[in-house]
Symmetry: C2
Subunit: 347 residues, 2 copies
């Protein structure tokens, strides 16, 4: 059974079945021309949209449907986290190939619904349409934050310390494992399923870091409240990309200490076992969804708060400089920070 075999009304009913009842601030929910919501008092609104496109961001053949749904929402929530906002509501817009199995449709929705419930995010509406090509999942999220507490990219000043949450590299290593496994699946037809690629618990942990990233919502809201951060961004496009963007928006440069970058140990081992430069892979690779923060040195003590509150440790990895260069201190030498990134949109 595919989505092409049922009506739009059926598909909407299948989505609603997975969603909780509307809270009282939703005045009109799913089923009218638009949703009507009461804004939250004494808060400003943080709005963002992100799309996952099949063949660009995920491969349906090798990624479980609920992980696709999870990721589609997680990338949006990570944007809210980077602004210090608490999630409130979302709209889901799906462009569906007619041949998409209904079970996959339900799985994608369940991945979204489960993460929404855990994140106190309420789905108030959306749109369904056919796609003549890939599956496209477009999610708009709205969060809230106190007026002067929103975290932005542009407030870093020379002398501010740079911190990163958690560890980096695990998602990139997980993606590598998945793509290796996919190549095996595609060539040897040995009957492996997606669940099998992780031969060890370490492998499974790395794959999960890619498949089901956890947006740093709690850390974001803590940072918004304690006002220690002068700039913040999420690492969806990698650590060096994040450093680049904060530096550009703030008009500063940076020196990063290679030794200090908190590489995930199992990711490091995996990269090294493949003959790759672990640090280079981890700082240019994306998908980690950690936060990168700039903070005044005198507010250092405030950054222990988020650590104590248990969301994610923060590691000091470098400093903002008046000189606009982006440098990496590695083996006692200063070298240009390796920049990954897609030169061209068509790449």
């Amino acid at each position: 059974m595919t989505v092409g075999g049922v009506t739009e009304r059926d598909l909407i009913a299948r989505i609603r079945r997975q969603l909780p009842a509307d809270p009282d601030w939703v005045l009109v929910g799913i089923g009218d021309d638009a949703a009507v919501v009461e804004p939250e008092r004494n808060r400003v609104e943080v709005v963002s949209v992100d799309a996952l496109v099949e063949g660009v961001h995920f491969d349906r053949r090798f990624m479980p449907p609920d992980a696709i749904g999870h990721r589609a929402l997680a990338v949006n929530l990570s944007d809210l986290a980077a602004m210090g906002a608490a999630p409130r509501l979302a709209l889901l817009s799906l462009a569906l190939p007619a041949a998409l199995p209904l079970a996959d449709f339900d799985g994608i929705v369940s991945g979204i619904a489960a993460l929404a419930a855990r994140s106190r995010l309420h789905m108030v509406g959306g749109n369904l349409t056919r796609s003549t090509g890939p599956l496209v999942i477009d999610i708009t999220v709205i969060g809230t934050v106190k007026r002067r507490q929103a975290l932005i990219r542009s407030g870093a000043r020379p002398g501010d310390a740079l911190y990163v949450s958690g560890t980096i590299g695990a998602a990139m290593a997980g993606r590598l494992l998945l793509s290796e496994s996919n190549r095996r699946l595609a060539t040897d037809e040995s009957g492996l399923t997606t669940g099998d690629f992780g031969r060890t618990s370490d492998d499974r942990r790395l794959a999960a870091a890619f498949l089901r990233p956890v947006p740093r919502l709690r850390l974001g809201t803590l940072l918004a409240r304690n006002r220690a951060a002068t700039a913040c961004i999420d690492l969806s496009d990698g650590l060096s990309d994040g450093i680049c963007r904060i530096a550009e928006a703030s008009g500063v440069g940076a020196i990063i200490d290679a030794e200090a970058v908190p590489l995930d140990p199992q990711a490091r081992a995996l990269f090294e076992s493949r003959g790759l430069d672990a640090l280079g892979e981890a700082v240019t690779g994306g998908d980690d969804y950690e936060l990168l923060i700039a903070a005044r040195p005198r507010f250092r003590a405030r950054l222990s708060g988020p650590i104590r509150h248990g969301d994610a440790p923060l590691t000091r990895i470098g400093v903002c400089t008046a000189d606009r260069a982006l440098l990496l201190r590695r083996d006692r030498a200063l070298v240009p920070l390796p920049l990954g990134g897609y030169a061209h949109f068509g790449a």
Copy 2:
């Protein structure tokens, strides 16, 4: 030059060039992880998302790029109009095939930007990604309305009169003309361009009704304020679909008077010249973006307001009934209302 040949940063700069400066309620605009906006005081928010997919909703070979952009935003604004909301802000999410010419990209954005400016809608952010298949334009809009003034689908009661704004059928006729012209273009290679299909000013007017629909924003906000309407919906999927949805949401039936339906005269002439049943085509065809309204008979005088204010005439076309049947009174007989609509999602 195609979008695949430039960077994402270039594309964002090309969009920003077409947008006005941020109003003061936009605290953080395009260029951060998310936008931050101040909510409007004493208003509730109306949020909606709609997507246009190439090959499903438009054909790039035959539709001018700015018309594609215009339509993509107009369908969203029409949802706001149907709720009685005034537009405020939007997010634009584009999935772009690498081969899309940059000139088409600019044209699509200009169609969106021009309608946004006319509608007092401000673009606060968005997302750009590659598409491995069709061009997908996903727009989220947020409007505002006073708390108890939002128009919904579910308030119609037996005895309420049904009104439709403007005339219907022109967009459907325009689409017919365009598809005929496209067939000629595809077969005779005579060097005609999209601009040529309209041989007469009537043809051009009909085509424009399809290519550049005008959402009934002013009428919607007037209706929200004067509280005459018990239900409202836009006719994006056709008049009979709109009747069906109001009836279902409100738990009523309806009798529509065929003679009273305000068919566009040129559309009627075109349908008849092709041997088609003009009324049937017009009520089942979509794309008109007029409003369908239910109103208590005693508030009839209030509905002359919108007419005097000049946005669009309202025509009484029937009545809501306690019996749940949807009927058409035609040639003195009551027949089932012709329902178009897509039975299956894959259709």
